[in-house]
């Protein structure tokens, strides 16, 4: 009984296949080929195969017309751009706002100069412009006053 059932299902599957195959008798109208050739001739005859460099580039992108190839290419490009963006923006994004400076990162300045600039040891010293008021007493040090990188000297020499 089971074998008969299986055979029946198999026969029906075969019949469905033969039924669908009847669609191969459906044909376009007799003028299709001429019409199609004429339309394509009009569209293509004036351009060389491969067309412009943009067409060639797109053709290369579409190797074998496999969409996954394009997908991989576009994904890689986006990933590259994202990494680039993160690296560019990374300084301010990842560094802690008030991370203590390592001892060897501090500028080798005399203690007096540091006191002139500010008593604040935080990293902000190197970020924001610091106005340093130069009094005569400040300039008594040997050589120019050493200041943090973004300091702006303000003189009162009237």
């Amino acid at each position: 009984m089971k074998k008969d059932d299986q055979k029946s299902v198999g026969d029906q599957g075969d019949f469905v296949q033969r039924l669908i195959a009847l669609k191969r008798y459906e044909q376009p109208d007799p003028h299709f080929e001429t019409r199609n050739l004429a339309a394509l001739r009009e569209k293509l005859a004036s351009t060389a195969p491969g067309g412009s460099w943009a067409d060639r580039w797109l053709g290369w992108l579409n190797i074998g017309s496999i969409p996954s190839f394009r997908m991989v290419l576009v994904t890689s490009l986006l990933a590259l751009l994202s990494v680039n963006f993160l690296l560019l923006d990374g300084g301010s994004r990842f560094a802690p706002e008030h991370a203590p400076l390592a001892q060897d990162e501090l500028p080798a300045t005399p203690e007096s100069a540091l006191q002139v600039a500010s008593t604040n040891d935080s990293l902000d010293l190197y970020r924001k412009p610091v106005f340093v008021f130069e009094y005569p007493s400040n300039r008594q040090t040997i050589g120019p006053v050493q200041m943090a990188p973004s300091s702006v000297p303000v003189r009162y020499d009237y």
């Binding site: 026969d11 469905v16 008798y25 459906e26 050739l37 491969g50 053709g59």
Partner: protein, 203 residues
């Protein structure tokens, strides 16, 4: 069983596809036109089977040949030209169908060739119908088309390539960029669904 159409022309006088492709790449439009002549009906049949709409099919056939022409420089000949153009046609049509969802029931069918009247399957159907209700060809066409449209794009493509165009599993796998196991599996499930849709014609 379905008669498998021959993929390569037997006529030895005709130049092979590779030669025509090479000439077309060098700017010989006549060579490309020969390729169009060679494949336009097959490409039409493939797309028509997938869309069930003859005007959409004509537009897509033109798009495929335009696209192929502009991509000729990228064709390295790793696969047959036939496989390549079929792959472009399948991808193009699947993309089109995804956008066309709204018109799934809107069909515009081609006329069936008179030869269908002598097909054993059609004769079998006719012999089973009652004398008062002769099988209407147009009605059968519509039902076959409606049944095909119930399948997903990929399942429909496999059915069209195998059951209508008589293509072997291996060739379909190459065209659809998948394994032969996937092709067999899709064919199996597609036929199960078609069997349900077309149960009224079952023996």
């Amino acid at each position: 069983m379905v008669d498998e159409p021959k993929i390569v022309d037997d006529d030895a006088l005709l130049p092979p596809d590779t030669e025509l492709v090479s000439q077309a790449k060098d700017g010989n439009y006549a060579a490309y036109e020969e390729l169009i002549r060679r494949y336009q009906r097959r490409v039409y049949a493939l797309i028509y089977g997938m869309t069930g709409h003859n005007q959409d099919t004509e537009d897509l056939v033109q798009e495929v040949f335009v696209k192929t022409y502009h991509s000729l420089s990228g064709f390295k000949g790793d696969s047959a030209f036939f496989t390549w153009i079929y792959r472009i046609a399948v991808n193009r049509t699947i993309n089109f169908l995804k956008k066309r969802k709204r018109r799934a029931s809107d069909v515009s069918l081609d006329d069936a060739d008179q030869a269908i009247e002598r097909d054993p399957t059609f004769l079998e159907l006719r012999s089973r119908e009652s004398p008062t209700r002769d099988i209407a060809l147009e009605e059968l066409q519509k039902k076959l088309n409606a049944a095909l449209q119930t399948l997903s794009e990929k399942h429909r493509t496999v059915v069209v390539l195998h059951d209508i165009q008589g293509m072997p599993h291996e060739e379909i796998a190459r065209i659809m960029d998948c394994s032969t196991g996937t092709v067999r599996s899709r064919l199996f499930y597609a036929r199960q669904q078609l069997q349900r849709e077309l149960s009224e014609y079952a023996p």
